[in-house]
Symmetry: C2
Subunit: 387 residues, 2 copies
């Protein structure tokens, strides 16, 4: 009998994390939870631990340690706290795969630790490749560490590339729902609210990524991720607004043939595929019905969605620029959710931060850390000045 | 340096044959024509021979032998005639691949010969698998002979399955343009003419297959072919009318994920892929533009397109039933092109032939030959009676 694969889920209380647990539950004969982690949601983390019996749990915010420890006092589970514990737990011997489902720059250090321990990475944290794509790809090669994308778009590209090993990519067709403001005029977009932005038409996700979808910064991130995951240039990536979110993305080869992956919008599909690759397991999900609505594709409007243009710009400049962009975005995203800035100010502050931050053409890890800190400081200053 | 692959093209003067020659011309460093064959078009065959310098040419209709011989008297090419010569030439030592691009039941014997000689088959003749799918699959296995589909739909399915070796197919989504009568009412379809039927909306093909597309018998054939090529049941194949002919077909796996192949309608793409698999070569063709029109999908109307329902019925009955159906269809197709029957009579005569012909649940090659002859006779009698 095959041994069960041991999975560490970083960010188990978020949208991806909870759906990953659903997948694991559907295939309890194949997968086991080794470790669950969360940032602040102690109660849900404790509840998950009681249900899935991991060997360990980690709460990143150390302030919650005692509470979590107390909640799990009757469970045979080790309880840790802090970001160093995250980096250590992913390296534990029994761990076969690490699902990096936490949000933001914080995903970078434990992902690097997991790569260095040769663990299979199921990559759901977008910022890892946005911030430090070159470094991560370099390390993955050095440690022979497979990186399986969990994003529905990159999973679609990955699935389209299976068995095409020697066949060059001519173009990547990266689809985008267009978010809640797809049909809004530039004028209307001046006054949209947080509530408007949080109402995503097709995907039910966490708040940070939902705002990133409304600005299309999320799509910008995915452009940068695609560059690193699939070794293409910015010119080879085309974004297609596809409001139905059925074609999750596609690859065009040099014979003109295009391969695409389609499905209902259900994140459990790419999560499970990352776990089970190269095999596919049955998934108890809705099946695609192509008869309900036509599939439409539009060019994105880079004037209304300036964040997407900024991401292409960051990719072209290279070096630490997308790290700077990401840091600024994390700050303005939070500020928008806290009602400190308006929707149009999001792109403005990011752009200005990119202009002011120190550029480094060949950053190492320490430069990324410094750039991240500097960009956050600049963005914060700009927000205060703009009030 | 890699030796050039030697290709035998059966039916080089037809639509697929001439496009195959265009592909070979684009990659003259990789491919060479070993043999060209035609049924009746002597002049074009001679012209092709002068341009591509094959080792041999075969004219299937022996009446044209002297004329062809004379036309090529100054060329260093062997000239043969007759259907036995077809079967022999595909077995010639230097031949690496055989493109079976002739029309009708006549494609069966040389395809079997090529399989028995272990040649790679680039299968464009639909009737081969419709008539004798079970036999062909059995032989291909016995002689370790790869069969690469050239039909755009089956090539799309094949491309979607690359690298998915161990992953079960849950469903095949077989797309259909719907032909020229997609939007006609049942009443209007009573009076459509040959000229109407020959006006296909998206594909430029030979007359026989264009009529088969108008009745959707062509799609019925493809359902049967898909069953044999991909080892699925009739219930696992769903036909989707997709008027834009962009999604060439798709496969649904058991995780609900759907993989599809898309492209402009250009038969050179699947022809070249069959030649170059598993590699892809550059193809000087138009690239897909998804922005021009939405992609629509409709359920086919089995009442208006009775031929499609008959094909599903033949597949369910098994044995020699699809051989009978194919023979009847070849007769009525010809009769319709000769203005001997009306459009609605096509399905009626086929259905009646299927009811009257001798059923054999486990046919061998001789039974196929006898069934084919009997069904042709019955169909011909029904046509005469109906006049």
């Amino acid at each position: 009998m095959q041994e069960k694969k041991q999975i560490a889920i970083l960010g188990s209380t978020g949208s991806i994390g909870t759906q990953a647990l659903d997948v694991i539950q559907q295939h309890a004969d194949l997968y086991e939870v080794y470790c669950l982690t969360a940032n602040n949601r102690v109660e849900l983390l404790a509840e998950q631990a009681r249900r899935f019996h991991p060997a360990a749990v980690v709460i990143a915010n150390e302030a919650h340690y005692e509470m979590l420890k107390d909640m799990l006092r009757d469970e045979p589970v080790k309880v840790y706290a802090g970001s160093d514990a995250l980096c250590q737990i992913v390296q534990a011997g029994p761990v076969d795969m690490v699902l990096t489902a936490m949000v933001g720059f914080a995903g970078l250090p434990p992902t690097i630790s997991a790569i260095q321990a040769g663990k299979k990475i199921c990559l759901a944290n977008k910022e890892t490749l946005v911030v430090a794509g070159e470094l991560i790809c370099h390390l993955a090669k050095e440690y022979h560490c497979p990186i399986l994308p969990v994003d529905s778009e990159h999973s679609a590209i990955f699935q389209s590339l299976v068995g095409e090993d020697d066949n060059e990519i001519e173009k990547i067709l990266l689809t985008a729902s267009g978010g809640p403001f797809r049909l809004k005029s530039e004028e209307e977009m001046q006054t949209v609210t947080k509530t408007d932005a949080l109402r995503h038409p097709t995907w039910d996700m966490g708040a940070k990524i939902t705002i990133d979808s409304a600005t299309m910064m999320n799509k910008g991130f995915e452009v940068i991720e695609a560059k690193w995951l699939f070794g293409v240039s910015a010119e080879q990536i085309e974004v297609l607004v596809h409001p139905q979110s059925i074609v999750h993305s596609a690859v065009q080869f040099r014979d003109g043939s295009v391969k695409a992956q389609l499905g209902v919008p259900d994140m459990r599909m790419p999560i499970q595929y990352a776990f089970s690759f190269p095999n596919r397991l049955h998934l108890n999900s809705q099946r695609l019905d192509l008869f309900t609505k036509p599939l439409e594709f539009f060019k994105p409007d880079m004037n209304r969605f300036r964040c997407l243009a900024l991401a292409f710009e960051a990719l072209k400049q290279g070096g630490n620029m997308s790290c700077v962009m990401n840091a600024a975005n994390e700050v303005v995203n939070r500020a928008f959710l806290d009602d400190r800035i308006t929707f149009p100010q999001i792109a403005t502050v990011i752009e200005q931060t990119m202009q002011r931050a120190t550029f480094d053409a060949a950053p190492d890890y320490d430069v990324y850390l410094a750039s991240d800190a500097e960009a956050r400081r600049i963005a914060e200053e700009l927000i205060i000045k703009n009030r």
